[in-house]
């Protein structure tokens, strides 16, 4: 593959990756958010594979392999296994602000992400020029998602989005010694396991995964 083909494919993956993040921000049903997450993870894995092939580095190839197994397969399977009742709930997930407001905020953050990374980019590799702003953008959008969702399961997926964003920027910068990416690719699974178990426990005690409703303290009546 020539360099320009790799660069344009990478841009394409990156843009679709960003678009799936916006989708996750706009969707209202947990199951749909999970589907968008899987699409995002697949795009991330595709991008990692592409960069591994293009750079020819063994470490990145191993990272790509781990990503391909962990992010689009293991994480969703874990979520489905551990949190099936919350996923199957057909009700709409509550958010602190409405969707158009969230999308406008997201647009402002996108501009910010591109603006902030501008000084770093001139002279950089074309792949870095694409991945760093998009990675930062997705990371920040994950933070927004985490802040505005009021339910545990979408919040868990927001954590994964933050992770994906950082990862997307990371794979472009490191080609040799990808030890950090190694760890990052595996750590996601741990995070999901821990948070999902925690959510299950909350759901058992409270009867719901709606953590937005947990802000008020209520004493148990002693009678």
């Amino acid at each position: 593959m020539s360099l320009s083909v790799v660069a344009s494919l990478n841009t394409l993956f990156g843009v679709l990756f960003l678009l799936t993040t916006f989708m996750m921000l706009a969707l209202r049903q947990t199951q749909a958010i999970l589907h968008a997450y899987v699409a995002q993870a697949l795009l991330l894995a595709a991008s990692t594979v592409l960069l591994a092939i293009a750079s020819g580095s063994t470490e990145l190839a191993i990272v790509a392999l781990i990503t391909l197994v962990a992010k689009p397969v293991l994480v969703p399977v874990l979520i489905v296994r551990l949190l099936a009742p919350a996923l199957r709930a057909k009700r709409e997930v509550q958010a602190v602000i409405n969707v158009p407001a969230a999308l406008s905020l997201a647009l402002a953050i996108s501009v910010l992400a591109y603006f902030v990374t501008q000084p770093l980019l001139p002279g950089a590799d074309p792949i870095v020029q694409v991945n760093v702003p998009i990675g930062l953008d997705v990371l920040l959008l994950g933070v927004v998602m985490l802040a505005i969702r009021r339910e545990a399961v979408p919040q868990l997926m927001s954590l994964m989005v933050i992770d994906n964003g950082a990862f997307f920027a990371g794979i472009a910068i490191t080609t040799s010694s990808a030890l950090v990416e190694f760890a990052a690719a595996l750590e996601g699974v741990m995070v999901v396991m821990i948070v999902a178990l925690l959510t299950r426990t909350i759901a058992r005690f409270v009867g719901s995964t709606e953590v937005g409703a947990l802000s008020a303290l209520r004493e148990r009546s002693t009678r």
């Binding site: 320009s4 344009s8 841009t11 394409l12 990156g14 843009v15 679709l16 960003l18 678009l19 916006f22 989708m23 706009a26 969707v99 158009p100 999308l103 997201a106 647009l107 996108s110 501009v111 591109y114 501008q118 020029q129 694409v130 702003p133």
Partner: protein, 316 residues
């Protein structure tokens, strides 16, 4: 010069005569997808024929706006036809009179008159439909603007012929992310502007749920025929902009040779019918959104084109 005039008239004639067929195929396919038989694909022509031969009844409270509107709605898409590539890849004599913003303005003029006429007779459904159409229109407008910005960044122009030449140049330009995103956003806009399913249900009979159709309720006879014909031509013109300018400028005539121009007619018709299949699939597989969910659908379109713009600005 004379050939250009002739070709231009041929383009207008093509839009005029082919538009009801495209609508008929769309209706038929939609019914087929729902496992029903559906009307014959020539039904829109029969309807137009019937309406033109019926008497027209106009409320005696209606002003000139109501009488004048069908002609504006009918003429606006035909005027736009003079500005965009329908059959030819080279600019014709009117091509530089207005750019895509101008074309959008002419179409919006038709929409404005339709809304004004809907309020004119005092029919409550008309006013409701008009206000809803305006709501969708307001939300579509910024998306159109962003598409024009993106397009002018890429092609350094918003004249449809120049944009199309810029994108036909190389396959790398075709697969550029900004291009693909603009395509997606434009399809979403077509759905919203022509009252297709996620936004509006064109085949619904329930006045309270209507958006686009409610504006035509008061028309009968020739007025109704012109409104319907204008509506289907608007859809065809938007499809031509999408297909010939933004997506796939293949099949257009490259020279003024009569044979080549004539050959372009079936090729373009085939291309449009392919897109009609896509439209029918979209319409058959989605449900109509609640009115207050429409801003979210269009918000998604806006985000798509906005991402296209920032990617184009910052990575080019």
């Amino acid at each position: 010069m004379t050939t250009h005039v002739v070709v231009n008239l041929l383009q207008a004639l093509f839009v005029l005569l082919f538009a009801p067929l495209a609508k008929g195929v769309l209706n038929r396919l939609k019914e087929r997808f729902q496992a029903r038989r559906g009307p014959p694909i020539l039904q829109p022509y029969y309807d137009l024929w019937k309406l033109f031969h019926k008497d027209e009844v106009i409320s005696d409270r209606a002003s000139w706006v109501f009488r004048f509107t069908p002609y504006v709605v009918f003429a606006a898409p035909l005027l736009v036809t003079l500005l965009i590539p329908v059959l030819t890849a080279y600019p014709l004599f009117m091509a530089f009179m207005a750019d895509m913003v101008g074309a959008g303005f002419i179409l919006a003029l038709g929409g404005f008159f339709a809304s004004a006429a809907a309020i004119d007779t005092g029919n409550p459904y008309g006013a409701m439909g008009a206000s809803r159409t305006r709501m969708v229109g307001f939300l579509v407008e910024p998306i159109f603007m962003m598409i024009f910005f993106t397009v002018s960044f890429i092609a350094n122009s918003t004249i449809p012929y120049l944009v199309q030449q810029r994108w036909v140049e190389s396959s790398a330009a075709f697969f550029a992310p900004a291009h693909l995103l603009v395509m997606v956003a434009f399809v979403m806009i077509i759905l919203a502007e022509t009252g297709k399913i996620p936004v509006d249900n064109p085949s619904g009979d329930f006045e309270l749920a209507m958006i686009d159709e409610a504006k035509n309720l008061e028309y009968s006879g020739r007025g109704a025929a012109l409104m319907h014909w204008g509506g289907s031509m608007k859809l065809l013109v938007l499809m031509c902009v999408l297909l010939n300018v933004l997506v796939a400028p293949w099949g257009l005539a490259r020279s003024t040779a009569a044979l080549e121009v004539l050959l372009a007619i079936p090729l373009i018709a085939f291309k449009v019918l392919l897109f009609v299949v896509v439209l029918a699939v979209i319409e058959a597989s989605l449900a109509k959104l609640r009115l207050f969910r429409i801003p979210e659908f269009l918000g998604a379109a806006f985000v798509t084109v906005f991402v296209a713009l920032i990617v184009q600005v910052f990575t080019a």
